[in-house]
């Protein structure tokens, strides 16, 4: 089964290298298929590992070490892969959904002049993400973490001739680098105290609570940046500048879920720092609320979906922060299905309208894209969490888990329920605007080739049945599967009454949200507006403006001040003057170089005499 893990990791890397090295010697179609096949081979490897682990029993994880990678004193890090329930689950999601997205890209990117580069990046991205989830110690996880940041930068800025795309890529990279830095600092503290970066199943080392809290905070910083949680979330909506399949890959299957994976993976540390873990839960709750509100006023279809991603990751953070790791991971999985579906269905619409992303210009397209409309509806219902769609099963158990954390938990519970109402509202606002009645625009491409429709179909199916593998508290194979690695804390296990109450309320509120959306947006009635609220929402709660005023502008002002002050006066003038002075001195000194033998002898003799006198005097 470890061979499967190695295959899973190596295939996308080989694909990326092959496409890069072959360059223009292979046609675009060949490059696209190399990438697709490499990711599906990775999926096969993941399936192989999964069945291998099942045969062994999920309580026997396999850690395989290729070689010692780093050694310094008693600190040793190996190039290790870990096959355990958590990593196989992530491998399956990443390579499976990733493969479908790459397949979809073949159709979507067909007209793009730089397809080869695109597919090389896609393979690299999948490789990075697989390294992140398969790495057998925290250092390899960090390597994957950084590579994911790099490849997301490359993909978000793929259309490099658009200044907005370049800016968005930079923003994503800087925000992520911030998280990487806090994570690296946490690792330093960890190395200093425990001399190890191995994944610990129980974190029993005697550490001061300060050290533990610092480590947990650092890890939380990394997780929040990668998963776009407040306050490090501003990069995610801007990242919609990339091609739509990239958005699907980043926002559904891979990158943004890494934070949840990190919390589940390092939960022994977080459990020792319970306060930080509860901060993570609160962060998730705040994010799901804010993102849900902002999504209400967006007009760009991809941005609405992006905010809904932030909101759903907020649910996952809420679950993982409360200690319901399995529920968080379960929601991660179903979210990967329906969010990839929504993005790709939106991609079909955008593709059909030749790049149009404004929802208001899409009205009437539903009549021409019937299958896409249906797929979008399935994705939306799964997102809102209505039974029997996938979101229902995963979201409600997270909401129920909140009820156990005293008054704090009740607040989180209420916020999460408000979130379901908002989810229903913004999702179906989007649905009714895009597929609502209206005069159809001329269509350009239709529903697209089979490479686009097949993944949408498969994911529609998964968005329906994907949640059926677990129905807490009656039927919990997934929780059981993850138990050896990420056992749900007893405090996060709701009673069946709480579970039932939360589910019922969530469904009712979701339906209410849909109802309000129908009343407001389905017809042609004017939508009520509150100017102040709308302005706040359209400015995304002024996060970008605040960061601009707090960090960007002072940094730019300081930089220009330093440039006009010390830099020009000292660092540019001084070297020039130094050079000029050297030349002046050299001109003077040159005179004693007469070329006459006697002068040299005189200097030699004089020097000797002086030395002799000095020696005599000092002796």
């Amino acid at each position: 089964m470890t061979a499967g893990a190695w295959l899973c990791l190596a295939a996308p890397l080989a694909g990326a290298l092959a496409i890069t090295l072959a360059g223009t010697r292979i046609s675009r179609t060949v490059a696209a298929w190399i990438s697709t096949v490499s990711v599906f081979v990775a999926f096969a490897g993941a399936v192989w590992s999964f069945f291998g682990l099942r045969a062994h029993g999920s309580e026997h994880p396999a850690l395989t070490t290729a070689w010692t990678w780093l050694q310094s004193g008693d600190f040793k890090v190996g190039l290790q892969l870990l096959v355990d329930p958590l990593s196989t689950m992530m491998m399956l999601i990443v390579s499976g959904v990733g493969g479908l997205i790459v397949l979809y890209s073949i159709g979507y990117m067909h007209h793009d002049p730089e397809e080869r580069r695109y597919f090389a990046y896609m393979s690299l991205f999948v490789f990075s993400m697989l390294l992140l989830v398969e790495g057998g110690n925290l250092l390899l996880l960090l390597v994957g973490w950084g590579l994911v940041g790099l490849s997301s930068y490359l993909l978000i800025g793929f259309w490099h001739e658009r200044p907005t795309a370049v800016a968005a890529a930079k923003k994503a990279f800087v925000m992520n680098a911030f998280g990487d830095a806090t994570m690296a600092l946490a690792f330093f503290v960890l190395i200093a105290h425990t001399h190890s970066l191995a994944f610990a199943t129980d974190f029993n080392v005697h550490l001061s609570s300060t050290a533990t809290n610092l480590i947990a905070l650092g890890l939380l910083g990394g997780a929040a940046a990668k998963s776009a949680q407040i306050p490090l979330h501003t990069w995610l909506p801007d990242a919609m500048e990339g091609p739509t399949p990239v958005s699907a890959l980043i926002h559904a299957a891979t990158m943004v879920t890494a934070g949840v994976y990190l919390i589940a993976r390092t939960h022994p540390i977080f459990e020792q720092a319970r306060t930080v873990e509860l901060v993570a839960a609160g962060m998730g709750a705040l994010t799901l609320l804010v993102a849900g509100l902002v999504a209400l006023v967006q007009t760009d279809i991809k941005r609405v979906i992006a905010y809904s991603t932030m909101s759903q990751i907020g649910y996952m953070f809420l679950g993982a922060g409360l200690g319901a790791y399995a529920n968080g991971m379960f929601h991660l999985m179903t979210h990967a299905f329906f969010k990839a579906l929504l993005f790709m269905a939106a991609g079909v619409v955008i593709h059909a309208l030749d790049g149009e992303q404004d929802m208001r210009n899409m009205r009437g397209i539903g009549a021409q894209l019937r299958w896409t409309k249906l797929a979008f509806l399935v994705g939306s219902l799964a997102l809102v969490g209505l039974p029997p769609f996938a979101g229902f099963f995963s979201k409600d158990s997270i909401i129920a888990a909140a009820l156990h954390a005293h008054w704090y938990g009740v607040i989180l519970w209420v916020v999460a329920l408000v979130g379901t109402f908002l989810t229903g509202l913004y999702t179906f606002r989007m649905y009714f605007i895009v597929f609502g009645p209206g005069e159809a625009r001329t269509r350009h491409y239709g529903e697209g080739p089979w490479t686009m429709l097949l993944p949408v179909g498969v994911l529609s199916l998964l968005a329906i049945v994907g949640g059926w593998i677990q129905f807490a508290p009656i039927w919990t194979p997934l929780t059981h599967w993850l138990e050896p690695v990420a056992r749900t804390l007893p405090v996060a296990e709701p009673t069946s009454f709480q579970e039932g109450l939360s589910s019922a309320l969530a469904v009712v509120l979701g339906l209410a949200g849909i109802g309000v959306a129908w009343a407001l947006y389905a017809g042609r009635r004017p939508v009520p507006r509150w100017a102040g609220l709308q302005r706040t929402l359209e400015h995304k709660f002024y996060f970008d403006e605040a960061y601009d005023a707090l960090f960007t502008r002072p940094a730019a002002a300081l930089a220009s001040m330093l440039r006009d002050g010390p830099e020009r006066d000292w660092f540019i003038t001084t070297p020039t003057e130094l050079g000029d002075d050297t030349i002046t001195v050299a001109r003077g000194v040159r005179r004693i170089q007469t070329g006459l033998l006697r002068t040299y002898v005189l200097f030699l003799g004089g020097g000797m005499a002086v030395l002799a006198v000095v020696l005599l005097v000092t002796k």
């Binding site: 004693i592 070329g595 006697r598 003799g605």
Partner: protein
């Protein structure tokens, strides 16, 4: 110890060295410069031998022999240069060879 004291020898040695140095500094004929150089070396040799005798240590004498060997080779090269200069019908004047001035 027979003969004059070491100080006398050193006096003669310093005189020889000074004479030689003066010759090197003020004469322009390369031949004379070479001769003066020899006188300087011999002044140094005399000092070495005087100290050797003073300290009853043979090392100084060995040094003097080595200096003589070096002096002989140096004279060979020096005279060779003088002959080469003469063959090219250049003036035998060290001050004329100052192309390396700054």
């Amino acid at each position: 110890m027979l003969g004059p004291s070491t100080a006398w020898y050193l006096g003669v040695s310093a005189f020889l060295f000074g004479t030689g140095a003066l010759g090197v500094l003020i004469r322009r004929n390369p031949l004379i410069v070479l001769l003066s150089l020899e006188i300087m070396l011999n002044g140094a040799n005399l000092a070495l031998i005087a100290f050797s005798r003073h300290a009853s240590n043979g090392a100084g004498q060995i040094f003097a022999l080595a200096v003589m060997a070096v002096a002989a080779s140096e004279v060979c090269v020096g005279l060779g240069l003088v002959v080469a200069i003469h063959r090219r019908r250049l003036a035998l004047d060290v001050d004329r060879f100052s192309e390396l001035r700054g």
